[in-house]
């Protein structure tokens, strides 16, 4: 048989626990190892946050995000939320994916994110509302729909409400459809959302 069984799996000198200082190393591998070695250490959040904003290598960025997720305190969430407004699409998406997984932790941040001046941030915050408890999602998104002028933000809000909306959301959906009656897609989306909420969708 061609199979070999080495007496040991390849032994690697396991890196000693690194301090957060190694996050600023010029070597991506060092930064990767540093991010992965940080335990649940709230003191590391400021360095992680700074590293996150500056990190050019996507996989190192992911490791930094994982570290922040594991710490999961208010400062970590704030650091991740702050990256939603980054001009770097990769960073935004990476942080959004992480935040999606932490519905309880993000809830206190959503209200203000939904009022952000940047429509892309509002879109992402609306998407995040999908994972919070339905009562909160309904409350937040109905309020959003009342004043939202950007069609794509409304589109996402309607999509989320189609999934988690309760009958309390119907008036807001109807008003939105009316306000955007000449805009593509929105009246259609609102009517489907209402039908799903009412249980009348065919």
């Amino acid at each position: 048989m061609p199979f070999v069984k080495s007496g040991e799996t390849s032994h690697l000198r396991v890196e000693p626990r690194r301090s957060a200082g190694a996050l600023t190393s010029a070597d991506p591998e060092t930064r990767w190892n540093a991010a992965r070695a940080i335990g649940i250490d709230a003191d590391a959040v400021p360095q992680l946050a700074a590293a996150l904003r500056a990190e050019p290598v996507p996989r190192v960025r992911e490791a930094i995000i994982t570290a922040l997720m594991r710490i999961g305190d208010e400062a970590s969430i704030a650091a991740l939320m702050a990256c939603l407004r980054s001009p770097d699409a990769g960073l935004r998406t990476a942080c959004l994916d992480a935040l999606r997984a932490m519905p309880q932790a993000i809830l206190p941040f959503l209200a203000s994110a939904l009022e952000d001046h940047d429509s892309d941030v509002r879109i992402m915050a609306t998407e995040l509302a999908r994972s919070v408890p339905p009562a909160d999602a309904n409350r937040l998104l109905c309020k959003l729909l009342e004043g939202e002028r950007h069609a794509n933000v409304c589109a996402v809000a309607i999509d989320v409400l189609a999934e988690v909306g309760t009958s309390d959301a119907i008036p807001a959906l109807q008003k939105c459809a009316e306000r955007f009656r000449t805009t593509a897609f929105l009246p259609f989306a609102a009517s489907i959302a209402i039908a799903r909420i009412s249980g009348t969708e065919g």
Partner: protein, 288 residues
């Protein structure tokens, strides 16, 4: 008002669109993706869960699922993953391994390293070995190292003993059974000791980065139907460890419905005719 007798699976009508919405939700939450040809599978599991939760409609069940009452999401995930293990499970992945992945192997100086984690009671690493001998024309030109690891030491012991019931062998032809197994007295078979001696079984915990750091330079890793059970940060950590365990350009197979896209963006997606495989890039991507 509802008649308890009405809570039979057949009593709740679910439209194709509703099944679609359920699949969308499952994908968002767990990364499990069900292709159209697997929809019947979803239909059945959904009907089971609707009945088990005494839901009167899809709408009611979906609301329950979204609120994750009583951990319903986990119940649903469990219903979807068949925990039975047997030889030559997901043969299309084994075929992809020999038809597509190992074709590129050229360096005969170093062994080809393949890891099955979790290996449970050994069916998977043994299947890999048998498949290679049966289906890879170049198998004798290389050193091949197969490692099977699991967190469950009882399962590992069983793997090292190598005795299986005939149910585990159901996908194997009589010729293969004859070639690699010795029949025992009670519908059980022992696998060829040559194979038992060829595979290195170890205890390893995917979520323990320190343990995982001892495993390096793998060409192919089989990590099936386990990552979906972890919470999000554990899943990410496991994925980061697995990345380091692979050689640059190395491949990882997940379970048939799992997608790495929800687990980790560290890996590239490779679509072959037999399977989807995830790959550690040869070099770091510059930017997205």
């Amino acid at each position: 008002m509802a008649n308890p007798e009405a809570h039979r699976p057949a009593g709740v009508w679910v439209t194709p669109d509703e099944v679609r919405r359920l699949c969308d939700f499952i994908y968002r939450r767990t990364g499990m993706l069900f292709a159209d040809n697997k929809r019947y599978y979803v239909d059945r599991r959904l009907a089971e869960r609707i009945a088990a939760t005494h839901s009167l409609s899809f709408q009611a069940y979906f609301a329950l699922l979204r609120s994750n009452a009583d951990g319903e999401i986990q119940h649903l995930v469990n219903a979807f993953t068949v925990n039975e293990t047997y030889f030559y499970r997901e043969e299309h992945q084994l075929r992809c391994m020999t038809s597509n992945l190992l074709n590129g192997a050229t360096d005969r100086a170093r062994p080809i390293r393949i890891w099955s984690i979790p290996c449970s009671t050994g069916e998977e690493p043994y299947s890999i070995a048998i498949w290679l001998m049966e289906n890879w024309s170049q198998v004798d030109q290389y050193s091949i190292e197969i490692i099977g690891s699991d967190i469950d030491t009882t399962a590992l012991k069983a793997a090292e003993i190598g005795i299986y019931g005939d149910r585990a062998l159901m996908r194997l032809s009589p010729q293969l059974i004859d070639r690699y197994f010795e029949p025992l007295t009670d519908d059980h078979y022992r696998i060829d000791p040559g194979l038992t001696n060829s595979i290195h079984f170890t205890r390893a915990n995917l979520v323990d980065a320190q343990q995982m750091a001892h495993y390096r330079d793998f060409d192919i890793i089989f990590c099936r139907n386990v990552l979906i059970y972890f919470d999000d940060s554990s899943r990410r950590m496991a994925a980061e460890s697995l990345y380091d365990c692979l050689r640059p350009g190395g491949y990882i197979f997940l379970g048939h419905s799992e997608t790495m896209s929800r687990i980790s963006p560290l890996f590239d997606v490779c679509r072959f005719s037999d399977a989807i495989v995830y790959r550690r890039p040869e070099t770091d991507h510059g930017d997205n």
